[in-house]
């Protein structure tokens, strides 16, 4: 293993919070008491939670050390497919922390909340322009909640036509949240097989679509990183039977300024602001999953809607057709601020972002396709999917490749997804990685392929560099230890 980005160095151990501390310490500055104590009825009071007692410095070191065990986009390249781990601009963090925004109470009278309402209003307009779908709700807190919102819109739409439909078509390449969201809405998922090109076949859809089917959920580009060429025919088929088309926009980063989602026949689309629009993923969240819809579906959008008149913004609850609320307030507003800041900073260069994202993915695909098995050898969009097929002869798996990449100093790609590809290795470089970084990743993957042949144990035992080695997930699940 020649000079790589990854190396070993000093890392500090750190116990669990409650293995630290002693009663008598406190990390919090108790506000001065300027009123008398008002004892609470003792039948109501408890013992108080058993929290550890730490000083400020203990807490600071605890989390500083923990952070050093993590790999983020700021650490290095993070080609996690389907997650669009692009650079999270620092100015976005600044804006979200502005006291006027961060300290704003959600139920302020609208005349006292013109700043936040204005941001929401404008962000809706900007997202409408990027997607081509005219009406937007920012309320869903993440992509999956956007999907649920979409399914609820389907339900409300059909109900408004005095129909209840029981099924929904979902391609086999779909993300797990798609069927799960549909199920929450009572829809039975009907899997649609993708064809040998990795995309939907209109005939297959036509064969499945009927008048008990609420519609279809399509991810486009799909999770193989391929554009659904037949999307318009598919949409027509679905529409012809009175169904609706849901677009999972998790992969919007491939097509900003390239396509107009409305033109593709989509009725509802969710966006993942924490993917396409550069908001940080926070080690799991918070995200934000706005839904964009056609004028026809607009009446069903969640309340409140942000309205503007006489240069004043206000919230309107007066939408009798609305599905109601999906979040207690207006969704993850702090994340919306970041996306807003990003769009204002990029302007029409959003299209460039998509072009470069696609350029980078194709470049990686071309450079690696002789080395790793490429199940669908056609131009890809923002990500490309390889498999471990060539490695099986060495008894080396996708998991081994991923783990070995850690030793090389990269975050692994998404693995074993989409499910339709055996041993999938899904690489999404994003537009914010330079060609040098792409080359480094490619070289690392080539070196790993060589190792697979020559020293396969290196892969099987990988990773060896991080603080911990492979973890026993079986025992974790069999004898769950979920708190200490």
């Amino acid at each position: 293993m020649k000079a790589t980005v990854g190396t070993t160095g000093l890392i500090l151990n750190e116990p669990l919070l409650w293995e630290l501390g002693k009663k008598g310490r406190m990390g919090f500055s108790l506000p001065r008491r300027d009123v008398d104590p008002a004892p609470m009825d003792s039948s109501l009071t408890g013992e108080g939670p058993d929290f550890p007692h730490l000083c400020e410095v203990d807490i600071v070191r605890h989390y500083t050390r923990l952070s050093s065990w993590n790999f983020g986009v700021d650490s290095g390249m993070y080609p996690l497919g389907s997650c669009t781990m692009k650079y999270n601009p620092k100015t976005n963090e600044r804006q979200a922390a502005l006291p006027g925004l961060a300290q704003a109470h959600p139920l302020l009278p609208s005349q006292l909340a013109q700043g936040t309402l204005g941001i929401m209003y404008d962000l809706e307009r900007l997202l409408a322009e990027v997607t081509g779908l005219p009406a937007v709700s920012l309320q869903p807190a993440a992509g999956a909640q956007g999907e649920l919102t979409g399914m609820l819109l389907f339900y409300a739409f059909h109900k408004s036509k005095n129909q209840t439909r029981s099924k929904i078509l979902i391609p086999d390449t779909a993300h797990g949240t798609n069927p799960a969201s549909a199920a929450l809405c009572g829809y039975k998922s009907i899997p649609v097989k993708s064809n040998d090109q990795g995309i939907l076949d209109p005939d297959t859809v036509a064969g499945l679509m009927d008048e008990d089917t609420a519609g279809i959920m399509i991810t486009n580009p799909n999770t193989l990183g391929l554009f659904e060429d037949n999307i318009r025919q598919v949409a027509d088929i679905v529409h012809a039977k009175g169904g609706l088309v849901y677009a999972d926009g998790a992969n919007m980063n491939a097509v900003m300024g390239i396509i107009n989602v409305a033109d593709l026949g989509a009725d509802v689309l969710h966006l993942n602001l924490h993917k396409t629009f550069s908001t940080p993923h926070g080690g799991g969240g918070p995200g934000s999953g706005p839904v964009c819809v056609t004028r026809e579906l607009e009446p069903f959008l969640p309340v409140p809607r942000v309205e503007k008149s006489d240069d004043q913004y206000r919230l309107s609850y007066d939408r009798p057709g609305s599905i109601g609320k999906i979040h207690a307030f207006y969704g993850n507003f702090g994340i919306q601020i970041r996306a807003y800041a990003y769009i204002l900073s990029m302007g029409p260069d959003l299209k460039k972002a998509s072009q470069f994202a696609v350029l980078s993915a194709n470049y990686i695909k071309e450079r690696l396709k002789g080395v790793y098995h490429l199940p669908y050898d056609r131009p890809c969009m923002h990500e490309c999917v390889f498999t471990d097929k060539h490695l099986q002869q060495h008894k080396v798996t996708t998991l081994d490749v991923a783990k070995r990449l850690i030793d090389y100093g990269f975050h692994p790609p998404t693995i074993y997804f989409p499910l339709v590809v055996q041993g999938a290795i899904m690489v999404e470089p994003t537009e914010t990685e330079s060609k040098e970084n792409l080359d480094r990743l490619v070289e690392a993957l080539i070196a790993i392929a060589a190792e697979a042949e020559e020293q396969p144990d290196r892969l099987r035992e990988a990773p060896v560099v991080p603080k911990v080695r492979r973890l026993d997930e079986t025992t974790a699940a069999r004898k769950p230890c979920l708190s200490g």
Partner: protein, 444 residues
């Protein structure tokens, strides 16, 4: 553009490796009909400095402290957040990483969430807590759905004193399911009236919030006794102000099967309502029915302690339509913030701070009473209570607004019978002089 590294040369070289002639070529596979014809009609890109100005202007259009005194809680609370917590959350290894699918390079996130889960179980008095839900509202909806899954019953009761906006979200989640949600009215003392429940054996779960939306502390112990006369019916305790459990008996101790609610109070800025933190905990028996991610402790190949996402067979990416929930991205960083905050408070701090919150609200309530204002609900409260504003309430309220005082939340839009009533909140951030000012202005 400072975010985009590709130089013209880079683009040319990469295109040539790909065998494409232009960037447009890369999209040749997209059918013509699908291609966007018009350019993006977006405002010209702002510089970093223009953006700062622009955002500064927007932020300054907001009514926040110290310019405004905002006596409003109602599900979003003003608590002091230690600077240490803010700066630690800014460690980019935390906030720029994804869900910890690769545990070897995510031990920071994983241990932090494991610790969050633990502190949450200790706060709520239950056995297991998940890694977070979106917010208090969807958490409540999912708790009710979980009760339905567990009990295989189709009806739930929800107190009318659960946060009205949470109830709206419950309605939205339940609309297509065919399950029945029955709302329970409230009594004169500001607590829920459970007397209408006569069919426990048909009931999957009963949801009650405490402190409830009127600020009152519900009698969960008695309710629990009654609910658990049916061996299956689940008691769900919802909350918007978890700091209360620093002082009050925890939901778990009182008999809750599930406790769920909003954790914004615990070190998370209000941010106009989000991102907050859906906290969710349950008795161990229900573990495999829980929605959301779970972090578990395990060992690595060398026997070293480590943490992983676990029990994912409940989850959408494995179980797809059979998952216990559709949740994928959650509110991880907010959970981390809450853990930092709880750790900073510690056992002593959480209790003292909770007591102080109560003391402040009690002071304000007392002062308003003394000034002759009515506070109609007699049940014990934590840091919120209802007051009737004198005179033409709306006029008084608006006059106070013009004095830069937000005198609580008008309740009429949620409870028409409470026309003229306002939900007031005083936390540790309210100085006595602020409260005195409110009283003075209300009565002037």
């Amino acid at each position: 553009m400072r975010y985009l590294p590709h130089t013209d040369n880079d683009v040319a070289e990469m295109l040539s490796v790909i065998g494409a002639n232009s960037l447009d070529d890369l999209f040749a596979a997209i059918p013509e009909a699908c291609r966007r014809q018009d350019a993006l009609d977006l405002p010209e890109a702002m510089t970093e400095w223009e953006l700062n100005k622009h955002m500064g202007r927007l932020a300054s259009a907001m009514a926040v402290c110290p310019e405004y005194l905002v006596f409003m809680g109602a599900g979003s609370y003003d608590h002091y957040i230690p600077e240490a917590v803010k700066q630690l959350l800014g460690r980019s290894e935390f906030y720029t990483s994804y869900t910890p699918y690769q545990p070897e390079v995510s031990q920071g996130t994983l241990q932090a969430i494991y610790e969050y889960q633990t502190l949450t179980t200790r706060l709520l008095g239950l056995d297991v807590a998940n890694a977070s839900m979106y917010d208090g509202a969807s958490g409540l909806a999912e708790a009710l759905l979980m009760a339905i899954r567990v009990t295989r019953r189709k009806k739930v009761y929800v107190s009318q004193l659960c946060h009205p906006l949470y109830r709206q979200v419950v309605q939205t989640y339940f609309e297509p399911t065919g399950y029945e949600v029955v709302e329970l009215p409230y009594r004169d003392d500001g607590r829920t009236d459970f007397s209408g429940i006569t069919d426990l054996e048909a009931c999957a779960g009963i949801a009650v919030q405490s402190p409830n939306f009127l600020g009152c502390i519900e009698d969960i112990a008695t309710l629990s006794e009654n609910v658990h006369t049916d061996p299956k019916t689940m008691l769900i305790v919802s909350f918007t102000e978890p700091l209360a459990y620093g002082l009050l008996k925890s939901p778990g101790i009182l008999g809750a099967d599930i406790a769920c609610g909003e954790g914004q109070s615990l070190g998370i800025p209000r941010s106009f309502g989000g991102p907050g933190l859906g906290m969710f905990a349950a008795k161990k028996a229900y573990l495999r029915n829980m929605p959301g991610r779970l972090v578990g402790q395990t060992k690595d190949l060398d026997g070293k302690r480590g943490f992983v996402l676990t029990l994912s067979t409940r989850e959408q990416h494995i179980r797809r339509e059979k998952a216990t929930s559709n949740i994928c991205s959650n509110q991880g960083l907010c959970a981390t913030a809450a853990a930092m905050y709880m750790a900073a408070l510690g056992g002593t701090g959480v209790r003292e701070l909770a007591q102080l919150n109560h003391d402040k609200a009690a002071y304000l309530k007392g002062a308003l009473n003394q000034a002759g204002l009515e506070t109609p609900f007699g049940a014990p409260f934590f840091n919120e209570f209802v007051v009737r504003l004198p005179g033409s309430s709306e006029e008084t309220y608006n006059r106070l607004l013009s004095e830069k005082i937000v005198a609580g939340l008008p309740l009429a839009s949620f409870y028409p019978e409470l026309e003229g009533h306002y939900l007031m909140c005083a936390t540790e951030t309210m100085d006595r002089e602020d409260m005195d000012l409110l009283v003075k202005e209300v009565t002037s």
